[in-house]
């Protein structure tokens, strides 16, 4: 039996935090920007308004956290899905690299977009 694993614990905490914020915020954002506006059910917000909102430092930070945690949430679940669902145990290292590499890349991009 392996020893106590603190990396698993941290991974799980971040996964949970990501699951929570994405569950709270993603549905409504996706509903609005992905479905309602494109379908023309409601008029999309004016550029000026949206731009003002997005330049608010608090919103920038919130969005960054949302992006990073959501990606961590994805990485954790996707890793297990590949591992258990497709039984790609042998590729464990590669899968981890792919998933958490994705998190780093995605978060950097988010930082670049939001603060760059």
């Amino acid at each position: 039996m392996a020893r106590r694993s603190s990396s698993e614990a941290i991974g799980w905490l971040l996964f949970s935090a990501g699951g929570m914020v994405s569950a709270l915020l993603v549905p409504v954002l996706l509903l609005l920007f992905g479905v309602v506006f494109p379908l023309g059910l409601l008029a999309p917000p004016e550029h000026a308004h949206l731009s003002a909102v997005l330049r608010h430092p608090f919103i920038r930070i919130a969005l960054f956290v949302l992006c990073m945690l959501s990606l961590l949430h994805w990485a954790h679940r996707f890793r297990y899905t590949l591992h258990d669902g497709l039984q790609l145990k042998q590729l464990n290292k590669l899968i981890n690299l792919l998933c958490y590499g994705g998190v780093v890349a995605g978060s950097s991009w988010a930082a670049f977009v939001l603060f760059g």
Binding site: M1, A2, R4, A9, W12, R77, D84
Partner: protein, 246 residues
Amino acid sequence: MPDTITLQVARYRPDTDAAPTMQEYVVPLRQEWAVLDGLNYIKDQLDGTLSFRWSCRMGICGSCGMTVDGDPALTCGTFLADYAPGPVRVEPLANFPVIRDLVVGIDDFMRKLPKVKPWLVREDEPGVADVEFLQTPPQLDEYQQYSMCINCMLCYAACPVYAIEPDFLGPAAIALAQRYNLDSRDQGAHQRMDVLATAEGVWACTYVGECTSACPKGVDPAGAIQRYKLTAATRTLRSFLPRGER
């Protein structure tokens, strides 16, 4: 209701068979007959060579777990009439090696069980007992649900993670560890942590939740595991704090 029903029973005789085969038997269909009664009818009247385990036939000894029409179930508490007109498939529990016919090997669980120290740990060995440790009904309530496990192994048969990751401690063993962790009389939670908070312990579980659906005794091992994840994670966080603030 017809008066007979067909049971399709998995047979595996290691001396002659390379893999299990299915054999059909027709048994009487009666309102009060459990699947186990059908199997006993086969054993007593039709084919003495069929092997399966059972004892209490009241859902408490945990020995008669099998796969009935694809679902893990206690055969003494699963009724033929609910499957009429049949046929009913009866197979050994999934995820375990099949020793013979409907008998599976549960050595793996029996080896894992002592690892989680499922007994009351006291740092202050109280010697001879002359008064009880007090425990109020709400304190009893804290762990009672997890103490209801009859070790029937249905949850292991239902858990895909156990199928894929045989080192996984598994739902019942973790629920039993929680049973003691949450007992107000126990002082061994930190010892159990070394086994539970590992990649083969709670972290292996991806919350499929099927263990809880399969459990005939309402133990809710999925909940036990989930709860322990939070406990283990917060402990880990706290261990990063400087000493004294833990």
